[in-house]
Symmetry: D2
Subunit: 410 residues, 4 copies
Amino acid sequence: MNKRKILNDPVYGFITIPSELIFDLVEHPYFQRLRRIRQLGMTDLVYPGALHTRFHHALGAMHLMGEALKTLQEKGHSISDKECEAAQVAILLHDIGHGPFSHVLEHTLLSSIHHEELSLLIMKELNRQFSGRLSSAIQMFEGSYPRRFFHQLISSQLDMDRMDYLNRDCFYTGVAEGTIGAGRLIKMLDIDQEELVVEEKGLLSIENFLNARRLMYWQVYLHKTSLCAEAMLMQAIRRARELCQQNSPLFASPALLFFLSHEVSLNDFDDNPELLNRFTNLDDYDIWTSLKSWATHPDPVLSTLCDGILNRKLFKIQFFDGPPTEEFLAPLRDKLRQKGIQEQHLSYFLVAGQTTNSAYESGEDQIKVKMKSGAIVDIVEASELPTIRALSKIVRKYYVCWGKTVSLRG
Amino acid sequence: MNKRKILNDPVYGFITIPSELIFDLVEHPYFQRLRRIRQLGMTDLVYPGALHTRFHHALGAMHLMGEALKTLQEKGHSISDKECEAAQVAILLHDIGHGPFSHVLEHTLLSSIHHEELSLLIMKELNRQFSGRLSSAIQMFEGSYPRRFFHQLISSQLDMDRMDYLNRDCFYTGVAEGTIGAGRLIKMLDIDQEELVVEEKGLLSIENFLNARRLMYWQVYLHKTSLCAEAMLMQAIRRARELCQQNSPLFASPALLFFLSHEVSLNDFDDNPELLNRFTNLDDYDIWTSLKSWATHPDPVLSTLCDGILNRKLFKIQFFDGPPTEEFLAPLRDKLRQKGIQEQHLSYFLVAGQTTNSAYESGEDQIKVKMKSGAIVDIVEASELPTIRALSKIVRKYYVCWGKTVSLRG
Amino acid sequence: MNKRKILNDPVYGFITIPSELIFDLVEHPYFQRLRRIRQLGMTDLVYPGALHTRFHHALGAMHLMGEALKTLQEKGHSISDKECEAAQVAILLHDIGHGPFSHVLEHTLLSSIHHEELSLLIMKELNRQFSGRLSSAIQMFEGSYPRRFFHQLISSQLDMDRMDYLNRDCFYTGVAEGTIGAGRLIKMLDIDQEELVVEEKGLLSIENFLNARRLMYWQVYLHKTSLCAEAMLMQAIRRARELCQQNSPLFASPALLFFLSHEVSLNDFDDNPELLNRFTNLDDYDIWTSLKSWATHPDPVLSTLCDGILNRKLFKIQFFDGPPTEEFLAPLRDKLRQKGIQEQHLSYFLVAGQTTNSAYESGEDQIKVKMKSGAIVDIVEASELPTIRALSKIVRKYYVCWGKTVSLRG
Amino acid sequence: MNKRKILNDPVYGFITIPSELIFDLVEHPYFQRLRRIRQLGMTDLVYPGALHTRFHHALGAMHLMGEALKTLQEKGHSISDKECEAAQVAILLHDIGHGPFSHVLEHTLLSSIHHEELSLLIMKELNRQFSGRLSSAIQMFEGSYPRRFFHQLISSQLDMDRMDYLNRDCFYTGVAEGTIGAGRLIKMLDIDQEELVVEEKGLLSIENFLNARRLMYWQVYLHKTSLCAEAMLMQAIRRARELCQQNSPLFASPALLFFLSHEVSLNDFDDNPELLNRFTNLDDYDIWTSLKSWATHPDPVLSTLCDGILNRKLFKIQFFDGPPTEEFLAPLRDKLRQKGIQEQHLSYFLVAGQTTNSAYESGEDQIKVKMKSGAIVDIVEASELPTIRALSKIVRKYYVCWGKTVSLRG
């Protein structure tokens, strides 16, 4: 059987599946599941083309990993076929622990279990099923593999994950300005003492990459409309859980119903292997199908929130540099009360949050530049641009979303 | 309130919503629903980027309509603002009657109701809600508007529908070869006696357009893998209906459950206005969520089919020039029996079908070319290429799909 | 010294120079000269972006050759590093014998010396300079290398030359419709008994490739405006030669002046090694600079022709299926006489020509398809499309160009 | 006669010539001349695709002007057809005064005449020829037209000139990272009190535009290799002039010979109308043809420089933050002397220069942002990024180019 498959990818042209093991991993239900989980959650409410999935992203990142390793080999670094496969397996599976609408549901449906922990859990389970053939990949993913650059290609500030998602998100949103020169950046990679570095002549490309990343944050990832829709989804799930725990009848797919009615912690996954199957059964479709049904639920809080999400009657949002003041919040609460929202339900329609964003994090995982002199310096030092230093400051924004135009259903 | 919105579109850059009426139609739940219906059904099993929706396609076709009308105006044809809006409304709504996986479900879930009939039904309901402001659009859509070229821009062999979907399907599948010169074709449009014609110097572009359309048929629309997946989905729905009608308990979203347990004809929609709401509540998510649940249903037929779709364990397919012979089918049935499939269930795992495809249909709605001499001739006459004549022959292919590697669940 | 250079190419992203030998060949003045010879002659009069050079095309074809060889290796065919380099050298140099405006000047300035003969001559001279390191490349180019597929990748109906130039010409002219799926075609290449074949599943891509080639012929390569400009250039050179041989003073660059005042045959190149240096000193710039000077030359024939080319006052053209009749030509001559053109100068302003074009030539160098059954068949047999058979007929068109709006200078 | 022409442009798809006057201007020899002047001089030595001309750029800028004016009209600003045409004429002709290799030859061949002064001169001459129909365009170009935003669209820090050249230079060099969102920026333009402003929600796009511009400066416009080639060209022209003035025989095209042997100042153009014709007869081809001839000139200085340019044997370059020190220069001079270069010729092979670059200039022509509050603020104030302030600092770099590997000819 021929397992060297070629997949069309509008971003790179073609992606080749490089080995049998990887072919079998791609075919595995755990990985096929990623076909049903979008990369950008509800961003398609703003950018209608942004429907690409974690499945395609993972394949794209694997493709870029192949390009990066080829570049490093061409520069004279010895990397074995086994290592190549392991690195490609690791990046392929790096996001396999993502559930639907991760950023939303990690905090509501799951008790703050981070998707990376689940990725590791699933990789270990796959390693068991594949008789230990993923061991090196897991080491690289965890950072325990001796040659450090493998981990850096998988997870660092210049990893193939970021490289692919910026590329791909640009492409599918149509935000041409976010274009990064992934091809050029990859050609500029090198290794110094088993650490990933970038040649000095790639400096402008890194600056551009960090600037593009910042642009994508504000233009796409933290777009007001997405934040509002996510806030509403979070409240809808919260409300659904509440109703569920009050034994109020509620339509939901079996997979979702389970997580609505149970509190699940990371330890539970270890104790109960069945949980992983339940989790991997959950995807975007469960959420959307349930939202549609809930839009006509007798509970006015739930139905109002869900109907709003479905039909783009979204909350308004306002940003602040500090936590929102009572002066700002009080009149909003009053208006919501005037719309007939009960006191105990106000929190569903007035949500305060914060978001942080640092396009570049100085610290352990710096982007290191190899100067023509041979010296290895942090990009912050190497760049003439004060921006890079500025980008390394964490930007924290506070916001308030509220149902300005909400009218209670039912 | 500012209703002149701009939407990012990776295909055209930007799409501008040209009027308030159109803005309000786009915001209507009937139209927002198209966000949840993919243009290419299960084609993403082959082309993982092909996730674009009928929502984006409808907006794209509206955009091209604007470009086409501008070209015609620049060539001196008088077209009023009202007519422009009506034509854009008509193309925007031309596909609004599509349900999920139309080509599959029109024949199983609905009793052979064609999506165009539903589009008209919904347009009439919207016309009621918008106090008659869609009347001209409906006339253009139906072909009763006096100036015939409007209908031809909406629905003919060179309409803005085809123009956008070929463009868009190429883009998202990554099949670069299918690229049509939509921009050039539109610049070549003209009107002769209120009929749509193409300038002679656009001849090569039309030939290319028809060739590209043929390529997309075989490479994408009738791709073996998609046909197999669709055949499996059709059987899964058929089985689910059967179980439903036998009162076997079956998880399904409320919207889907209704259509599984009722036979609905076009007349029923007239008699029962509530049906339209039920229909517009149905989308891709209902199908996928149900498939996931059915994959573990106790009925081995249903669960085997659904698990196969979800995890890409698909039927094999073989094409024939004529109906498949008993010589071909009998051994396949034997093998299925050996796998333990009961006699009455064989038809779920051995599906014969046919598909027809004519890239160009000579007949009433020919593509007319305006020669430099002033004469108006059919593209078949104008082209030197025998292909065009060949493309106008209907190609009928027969196929058999069967569960070659199926192993019954449960 | 690091000779692994990377070049930006808007078409493919990046082109890597794969070896030291190739780096040195690229740096050689004979190859650098191709920077000054445009791929599409005067086509930029119609498509202003079409300014790309034979230099870039040769590098692009070399890049595609690398991709093709990698694909073949991945399919299990053994191809040595030496062979890879030789094949890349051969395609890099396949056009090195082109002079400026080849199609025009091969018939006027040079006595019908075909550019392939000059390419071979130059390759042999380079082989001498590089101590025989180009011997295998020359064998591949000539077709004497034992493994035939190498020659087919360099020069056949599906060679890397055509693949790059169609791609590149599309890109720079902006004729999007001509897009070929070069990436996909290359992935479909295979070898059968040392002959190049295409996998059956690449059939649609080849059909598309041949259709695209036909489109480019009529839309670009044989565009009326280009044909007219080339006819005028041919006459201008003819006139300049005449004046030169009459010892009329004429400004021209040294390199051009030499060829204007000498008749050079292919044999002369063998006898006189200096000739090759003279020839490689000639490029587009000599022609354009001279045209500019000649536009004010006292000879009204020469100056009228040159001024017309420079300022886009071009001849008209008309096509015919057979040779133009005297009935057509006589009145044109009369009109030219009325404009004051002398009898012996009529032929400069009334030019009859013919052009032939067969998008696919059946015969020795067929495109061979490897069917799933293992059989090897000609594309004409493999394709369902009558077009392919039709494309294999030679299309011969006759034309007449004449100075319809000419007004004699001086 | 139909003067509504459509031109293919790989960057924007199509460019429509919007009026008869503009058609006639495009056909004028002064404008056709721009076909023979490249936008990026010798940058193709680094980026082989960068062969696009000022002709194509001027048309592209005119196209963007049309888009910008349409946006402004759609936002309710009244702009007459006459004004539209004038603005498009002005941007079309804004660069018409460019000679070949402007940045080089303005300082050697012409006595520091700035190309904008020549543009104005030519526009006035055209205005004479076109009976005053360019008067408004000239006012807009000069800044004397009452409605200031027209001038700002033609010449300011966010003008259609920059917008097109960044777009176009990115495209043809293949430096994808420089992509600006021209489409989006234009949609964000507005007018406030007859001044051009950008809507607040365009802020990220402007930041990206300024960053991209900076990237293009260092990656392309001030690329080391280009600077070296330009320095060599400057010295070659200087040497040729010297030889010319010493009456040493020197091949050159008539147009070039004139400027080599005369000192021409701006005033001379007023006094001697013939000069304009001489100037507009000069283009890239004159330079290249002469360089080729000079590469074998008996003068070793001239021939060495020219041969180096033609065959990419370029100077080395080194950058400094301050003027180069004698410590650095002295040993270089020694080495050149050792290579046999005479004392009086050292300056041809050791060139010190400086380059300044400010991606954003705060001052009169700021980019003004219209905040949602209605306030109009400078981009430096509006942006959170310290970069923008940093970009507004002038960066001055000093460099030394020298013939490190030079070996004197002859």
